[in-house]
């Protein structure tokens, strides 16, 4: 392992930016805030590029020990950073997409009063996320893990005056904490059995343990608990409920945190722990099952949503399911590949949606959109590229990554055709709802309420310029500070998948997942035995599924727009259940939330806090008061009573001395 002294700068630079903006931003000018935020983030991105250019697989992995942290007997944890191929990919994705979204936010949030706060929070998030991906041990990763949860809470509830936003922030943080509990137990197990949390030491210790094929063991337990943590952070069943609510935050937040980076932390963590999962097949199976089911489940909910951001949120949950499916069948590099392309196209989708919302004055309901391709050509173009990408059309990025996942799901020793089939069905549904969104938003007639405002005589005094933050006038295109990142991400969505052609990406990441290299090798030979023919056939099937989705959406939403309502009416309660997200939130509220709140109120608040703690404090104060109230009568100012007390005290002392003498 070679040391790299610049590794620690990459997370620290955004932290500095966050600190400066946080402390001094309130009184600074917006230009200064922008310069600081973009400057530090851009510097981190520049540094990441330099590190990437100088990266040489021969001297990988790199490390850097910043400072001692815990030294407790033989257990030690330090603030150390680590860079191997996996971290490098994550580093570039996080800094690159993060920087683009910073630029976009300048335009989107310019008119907001809390502009400095937003930029500070964004930088803070970058710091925590970079700590997460660059960590050399599980505990520093956990710092980043918790920190991104915190940043997510702060940013979801950014408009905290709105009750729904504050509640959504709380929900995200609390559900995340449930996952973190599992993560922590896994860490404790590691400390107990391996005595260390450092990646290299843990994985070296894991290599010496046998594969647990016969049943559950230590590694299965650790793997399952890590999966609980990942399910919380990456919104898998059953802890996905926070992600749709998280759309209360500003759209750049949804793009950065809930599409491109934070929710992928779970996938990164599972991939990083591949050595553990490789030896715990039962845990891997659970990962795959959870991922697959989540992918299908979330896709079905996405069909019936009317809010543009909610559709994208469920789409994120579904795509994360794909990544977990990949990790669950042992194809970790495929999962990371899809993570990378997903960051591009999902980020682009969210940013473009934000541009649409911004352009029509804050409306998010797709039923009130339509025909916007005329008003916002650049947004339309970029969002179209993203929609075709996510549907899986070749030669765009997601075609390569999603296809890789489906192929590995079918052919890997841990995979099965069931995963593949559900994956293909989900791909069809994904294509359908994404094109539904596409058609509803950009085609047809504009159904919004403000299309006639330009003829309204009462608006004669309205400003003539199309500035930001006004809610009247025609739908309009966003400024170039917002469109620039869209274009860059669109380009990346097109070319981003080409890096995986011929297995180059997989080959690049192979040294990281080397403990699974034996399985990969076995599978590759098996795959070759199964023939390139099968792979091509499966590829064709998935492309067909994508095309079918497009056709269905075109039929239902462009050719015969009255059909969807009729279908929904005929499906009745089934449609109601889907559009209400299968009432999962209500179920959780009844099962968990209400009993918890009631229990807390009765037992902890009235019982413990008021009855025990307050009572103890108040009663001790009362007791002191009563005691002193009684004792003060001793000081009566009367000389003779004083003498009386002295005589009594003297008697006591004499009695004591006599007693001691007698003994």
């Amino acid at each position: 392992m070679t040391p790299n002294p610049y590794l620690w700068l990459v997370p620290i630079l955004p932290l500095a930016g966050a600190a400066i903006n946080g402390f001094f931003g309130r009184r600074s000018s917006k230009n200064a805030i922008t310069a600081i935020a973009l400057g530090f983030c851009g510097l981190a991105f520049f540094l990441a590029v330099v590190i990437a250019v100088r990266f040489s697989p021969a001297s990988a992995p790199y490390y850097f020990n910043l400072a001692h942290w815990i030294r407790s007997g033989s257990f030690q944890v330090d603030f150390s950073f680590y860079l191997d191929q996996l971290s490098l990919v994550m580093l570039l994705v996080v800094t690159g997409v993060g920087f683009l979204i910073h630029i976009y936010s300048v335009g989107y949030m310019w008119d907001d009063d809390g502009y400095y706060r937003f930029m500070a929070y964004l930088n803070l998030f970058m710091f925590f996320m970079l700590t997460l991906v660059l960590a050399k041990n599980y505990l520093v990763m956990f710092i980043g893990w918790e920190g991104v949860g915190l940043a997510s809470y702060l940013l979801i509830g950014f408009w905290f005056i709105k009750d729904s936003a504050a509640a959504a922030g709380k929900k995200a943080f609390i559900v995340n904490r449930i996952g973190d509990f599992g993560f922590l137990i896994a860490l404790f197990l590691m400390i107990k059995h391996f005595g260390t949390l450092d990646f290299t030491h843990v994985f070296a210790a894991v290599q010496t343990l046998p594969t647990e094929t016969a049943g559950a063991g230590l590694l299965t337990a650790i793997g399952l608990l890590l999966m609980v943590g990942a399910a919380g952070k990456s919104a898998q069943i059953p802890l996905y409920v926070w992600l749709p609510d998280a759309m209360e935050g500003p759209t750049p937040v949804s793009a950065l945190i809930h599409a491109a980076t934070m929710v992928t932390a779970g996938v990164y963590m599972v991939a990083r722990s591949s050595a553990i999962f490789d030896r715990a097949p039962m845990a891997m199976m659970v990962v795959a099952i959870v991922g697959t089911l989540t992918a299908l489940f979330a896709a079905t909910i996405g069909i019936a949503q009317t809010d543009i951001k909610k559709v994208l949120a469920y789409s994120t949950v579904s795509q994360l399911g794909y990544m977990f499916m990949a990790c669950g069948v042992g194809a970790f590099s495929a999962g990371i590949f899809h993570l990378m392309t997903h960051a591009f196209f999902k980020g682009l989708l969210f940013l473009a949606a934000g541009s649409v919302i911004h352009g029509i004055g804050g409306e998010q309901d797709m039923r009130k959109m339509g025909g916007l391709r005329v008003y916002m050509p650049v947004t339309f173009l970029t969002m179209s590229i993203a929609t075709f990408t996510i549907a899986g059309f070749p030669p765009l990025a997601a075609f390569f990554s999603k296809d890789e996942i489906l192929w590995k799901a079918y052919s890997s020793p841990n995979g099965s055709w069931v995963y593949w089939l559900i994956g293909v069905i989900t791909a069809f549904i994904t294509s359908f709802y994404m094109f539904r969104l596409w058609f509803l938003t950009f085609f047809g007639d504009y159904r919004g309420a403000i299309a006639h405002d330009s003829h309204d005589p009462s608006r004669a005094g309205a400003p003539a310029t199309h500035g930001h933050g006004h809610s009247h006038g025609d739908p309009h295109e966003s400024p170039w500070v917002m469109l620039g990142p869209l274009v860059i991400l669109a380009i990346l969505s097109v070319v981003g998948g080409w890096i995986g052609i011929g297995g180059r990406f997989e080959h690049f990441l192979a040294p990281v997942f080397q403990s699974g290299a034996a399985a990969e090798l076995a599978h590759e030979t098996a795959g070759e035995a199964a023939g390139k023919g099968t792979e091509t056939l499966l590829m064709l099937i998935s492309v067909t599924a994508a095309v079918l989705g497009l056709l269905l959406a075109w039929t239902l939403y462009l050719r015969r727009p009255q059909l969807p309502a009729r279908i929904a009416a005929s499906l009745g309660t089934l449609y109601e259940a889907v559009s209400h997200k299968y009432y999962i939130d209500e179920l959780y509220a009844v099962l968990f939330v209400k009993p918890l709140i009631d229990g807390s109120t009765t037992i902890l608040w009235h019982g413990v806090d008021q009855g025990v703690i307050d009572a103890a404090v108040n009663d001790s104060a009362d007791a002191a008061r009563h005691v002193s109230d009684n004792v003060r009568h001793m000081q009566s100012g009367n000389l003779r009573s004083y003498a009386g007390w002295v005589a009594a005290g003297g008697a006591v002392v004499i009695a004591y001395m006599v007693w001691m003498g007698v003994r």
Binding site: M634, R640, S641, V646, A648, A651, I654, A655, V658
Partner: protein, 190 residues
């Protein structure tokens, strides 16, 4: 034998004087009883052979301190004691406490009755020469310190007892005695 009789005689006078001090209601009678007590104590000291102490007792205690008391009583024209509300603590806690302490001490003394040696009559060994030797050699420091103590006491007594007008008029800003008497009489002093 004679020793015992003399001891009992003077002891009886002592106790009688002490009890009389308690019983009398006019302080002048109590003061005179106290003088009787001191005189009998001087006799007891002589019985113990402490001639210097006996002499000092008569000269200083009975002759100076008690005279001071008598002067003060007569100066202030103290009359018979009035019956005011006593202190419940003093009677309910102090007196029983006192009795308990006294009983314990007595019980200890009675238990040790046999082990104490006897004191002989008139082996007058407390000569002034011997006491002086002790006082000015071994206890020189306490002696000097007590002289300073007396000096301080004199200064304090002079300051405390002098009339308020004798102190610089500017320093004293409290009520005049006349005003104080009016305040006390009308009960508006706090």
């Amino acid at each position: 034998m004679l020793h015992l009789i003399l001891f009992l005689f003077f002891g009886a006078i002592c106790v009688a004087g002490a009890v009389n001090l308690l019983v009398q209601s006019h302080p002048i009678n109590s003061a005179l009883s106290l003088i009787v007590v001191m005189a009998s104590l001087a006799a007891e000291y002589l019985l113990l052979g402490a001639e210097f102490v006996a002499a000092v007792q008569v000269i200083v205690y009975a002759g100076a301190i008690m005279v001071l008391f008598l002067i003060t009583i007569m100066l202030l024209n103290a009359g018979k004691e009035e019956r005011t509300q006593g202190s419940r603590v003093a009677t309910l806690i102090g007196v029983p406490g006192l009795t308990i302490g006294a009983v314990l001490v007595a019980w200890t003394l009675v238990g040790r009755l046999s082990t104490t040696r006897s004191v002989s009559i008139g082996a007058l060994w407390g000569a002034p020469k011997d006491i002086a030797r002790l006082l000015f050699r071994d206890f020189l420091l306490p002696f000097e310190v007590t002289s300073v103590l007396i000096l301080i006491a004199i200064m304090g007594a002079v300051v405390l007892a002098s009339r308020p007008e004798a102190i610089a008029r500017r320093q004293y800003s409290g009520p005049r005695p006349q005003e104080t008497r009016e305040l006390v009489a009308t009960g508006k002093d706090h």
